[in-house]
């Protein structure tokens, strides 16, 4: 499946079906992150429910140092 993640086109394995799978794929499941899919924030409860589609635009963001 082709996804655009954090502005980059990439191909992920077909076993990646939802956000939970995606975070596991990148080993981010334990990190404090927030996910946006096609401009909409995905709540944690939806991680295993929302199915990813080819061409989805995903943003995975976190907190960094700032003033």
């Amino acid at each position: 499946m082709k996804l655009r993640i954090n502005g980059q086109q990439m191909e992920v394995e077909n076993s990646v079906r939802n956000i939970e799978d995606l975070l596991n794929f990148f080993q981010l499941q334990e990190r404090i992150v927030v996910v946006e899919r096609n401009g909409e924030i995905v709540s944690k409860e939806q991680y295993s429910i929302q199915t990813l589609n080819d061409g989805d635009q995903i943003e995975i963001v976190h907190f960094v140092g700032g003033g």
């Binding site: 954090n6 080993q27 981010l28 990190r31 404090i32 927030v34 995975i60 960094v64 140092g65 700032g66």
Partner: protein, 255 residues
């Protein structure tokens, strides 16, 4: 005690978390500062480095209130998007609205800041806008219902201190919400001056993270803010043009 929205704080210092020499020094500096509110930025994760260390994840989050900023936003819509992402973490409901209008000076865009503040208030955020030191803008933001107003002392990271104390005093005098002096602080003296003028708190980052000894500077800022606040509460004497003797003028041996 500082009250912002429904939250109260003992410390009047809000500390930024950017640009420290190391996480170890940063952790010590945060502790030395006594700050209860820490600011953060929201950025894309480097998904290829899942084990990269993250300062926020090292903190005992029961001890701190997170104040994410919308840095990077140039429009109200971008600021709202960042704010919503921050809130979706479930870790915070406060937001520092930061909409930059000029890349060289990093001064805030007043119109977009006002728009973003209005939109975020409607979304139920506790809204703390970073603004220029304009009393009219401060009044309009207060009328909207923001929970604190954060005028800059001078451009972000410049360390120039309070370049327009007159403007800042206008804001402090008219505000019925907390005034947090944000950006441009360079030294403990700047903090003390702002607090003596009646500011309710200080938000700073580079002045500590960029100091030769950030931990020592964090403590210096803490003490300066406390001293300035006490001085404000105590009420300073008026300035006089000529001297007034401290010792009695009666009973002098030379008369």
């Amino acid at each position: 005690m500082l009250k912002i929205g429904d939250k109260t704080f003992q410390s009047r210092l809000m500390l930024g978390t950017g640009k420290y020499p190391s996480f170890e020094i940063q952790k010590e500096a945060v502790e030395a500062s006594g700050a209860e509110i820490l600011t953060f930025a929201v950025r894309r994760m480097n998904i290829y480095e899942p084990s990269q260390p993250n300062f926020l994840e090292m903190l005992d989050l029961s001890k701190y209130t997170l104040l994410p900023n919308t840095a990077g936003a140039k429009t109200a819509e971008e600021a709202v998007r960042i704010a919503k992402l921050a809130k979706a973490s479930g870790l915070c409901d406060m937001i520092k609205v930061e909409v930059i209008g000029d890349d060289k000076t990093l001064l805030p865009d007043p119109i977009e800041t006002l728009k973003a503040s209005e939109m975020l208030l409607e979304e139920g955020f506790i809204v703390l806008p970073y603004t220029s030191d304009d009393v009219v803008l401060a009044k309009k933001l207060e009328e909207l219902g923001v929970h604190a107003i954060m005028p800059g002392a001078s451009p972000i990271g410049s360390g120039q201190g309070i370049v327009n104390p007159l403007n800042l005093s206008f804001i402090i005098e008219q505000a019925n919400i907390p005034v947090i002096v944000d950006a441009g602080i360079g030294s403990p003296a700047d903090c003390a001056l702002a607090m003596e003028m009646g500011a309710d708190g200080i938000l700073l980052n580079t002045a500590v993270s960029g100091a030769k000894d950030p931990v020592k500077m964090a403590k210096a800022m803490k003490l300066a803010i406390e001293a300035g606040r006490l001085g404000y509460e105590a009420g300073r004497i008026p300035k006089k043009r000529y001297a007034q003797a401290s010792s009695p003028t009666e009973g002098m041996l030379t008369t």
